[in-house]
């Protein structure tokens, strides 16, 4: 009987860790994607200053997210997204809009892929 209680306690721990993990991954990826979308829209409309500021914001946001996401997501995945995002401010500052949008799309796809990996859906 004691073992069943221990198993129940473990189940609660697992449920809590998984829920926190899914919540964190979802909320951080949504936050980052919305920032990237705004940066993309600004770049497309020709407002490069705003796009630079927003991509810088996205970078800062990702740096703060890394600390939490590192508990649940493979560090390699986080690092790859970080590499893509860190290129954005300098690309748009130099006026390289096409490369900026390409790198932004790449970052977005990686974020979506990482988020999907954490959610129990049929492809997983």
């Amino acid at each position: 009987m004691k073992r069943l209680w221990a198993a129940a306690a473990f189940a609660v721990i697992v449920a809590i860790i998984c829920s926190i993990g899914i919540y964190c991954v979802n909320s951080y990826s949504k936050g980052l994607i919305s920032r990237l979308d705004m940066a993309s829209d600004a770049a497309k409309s020709g407002d490069l200053t705003k796009a630079t500021a927003l991509s810088q914001q996205a970078e800062d946001y990702w740096i703060s997210a890394e600390k939490v996401l590192g508990l649940f997501v493979s560090h390699n995945e986080i690092s790859q997204i970080g590499v893509s995002i860190s290129k954005l401010p300098s690309l748009i500052e130099n006026g390289d809009k096409a490369l900026f949008l390409a790198e932004l799309s790449s970052a977005k796809i990686q974020i979506i892929h990482t988020t999907k990996m954490e959610i129990p859906i049929d492809i997983n």
Binding site: R3, L4, A7, F10, A11, V14, F72, S74, H75
Partner: protein, 222 residues
């Protein structure tokens, strides 16, 4: 490097905790499901230790999940016999009334050498003396000799013998074991009296055991 040290220590305690929660069984006595869980736990624990890019939580969650499944499955097997039959299997009779069931041996894929080895490990060197041999679910062979080959017991001989109970360790390495007197079968006064009769004190004793008939066994410290 320090991360590896911390991860290793953390996972070591997690695995020890999990093995303790799963219960006491020796490796050779593991049921198939327990063997699978034990192998998987060791593999899962080693992944976050070796690969620092993997979060520790991934390994811990997987280990805890296996422990939960193992406990729930074993608890359910106690209540539902058919579940136990599926996950644990049932013992198979290999020798019945002194006759080897060759069909069963083929079914279990065990050779005559395996059978003889199993019998030897059980203390039987001559197969003709065996009445029944059963392959247990953990792969061990249990044997029962023919009645004519079993040693005579006190009850066979109608000899009355009092129950001695389990021998209790009273002194270990010169130190009195406090829990030795918890059963109430032996008390400290009796022990001290016995030691005095042997001209010994507690610190001079390497090992002292006793049973409820007040029979003591003493090994002096060298």
């Amino acid at each position: 490097m320090l991360s590896t040290v911390i991860r290793t220590a953390f996972l070591y305690f997690i695995v020890i905790l999990c093995m303790r929660v799963m219960g006491k069984r020796q490796v050779g006595e593991l049921q198939p499901s327990e063997l699978v869980v034990t192998i998987l736990i060791s593999e899962l624990a080693s992944i976050p230790i070796q690969d620092l890019s993997r979060p520790v939580s991934n390994g811990v969650i997987a280990i805890l999940m296996l422990v939960i499944l193992e406990i729930v499955l074993s608890a359910a097997s106690l209540k539902i016999p058919c579940l136990r039959r599926v996950f644990v299997g049932k013992p198979a009779i290999i020798i019945s009334n002194g006759k080897i069931d060759q069909k069963m041996m083929r079914k279990l894929r065990i050779t005559i050498d395996d059978l003889l080895e199993g019998l030897r490990q059980d203390g039987y060197f001559e197969i003709e003396n065996i009445s029944f041999a059963i392959m247990e679910t953990n792969g061990k062979i249990s044997a029962m000799p023919l009645v004519k080959d079993t040693p005579a017991t006190k009850s066979d001989m109608d000899i009355a013998a009092p129950e001695k109970g389990v021998p209790i360790t009273i002194i270990s390495d010169g130190k009195l074991q406090n829990d030795a007197f918890s059963s109430g079968e032996i008390n400290e006064k009796q022990v001290m009296k016995y030691l005095k009769s042997k001209n010994l004190d507690v610190s001079q004793v390497f090992l002292m055991t006793g049973n409820k008939l007040k029979e003591f066994y003493v090994v002096k410290r060298e």
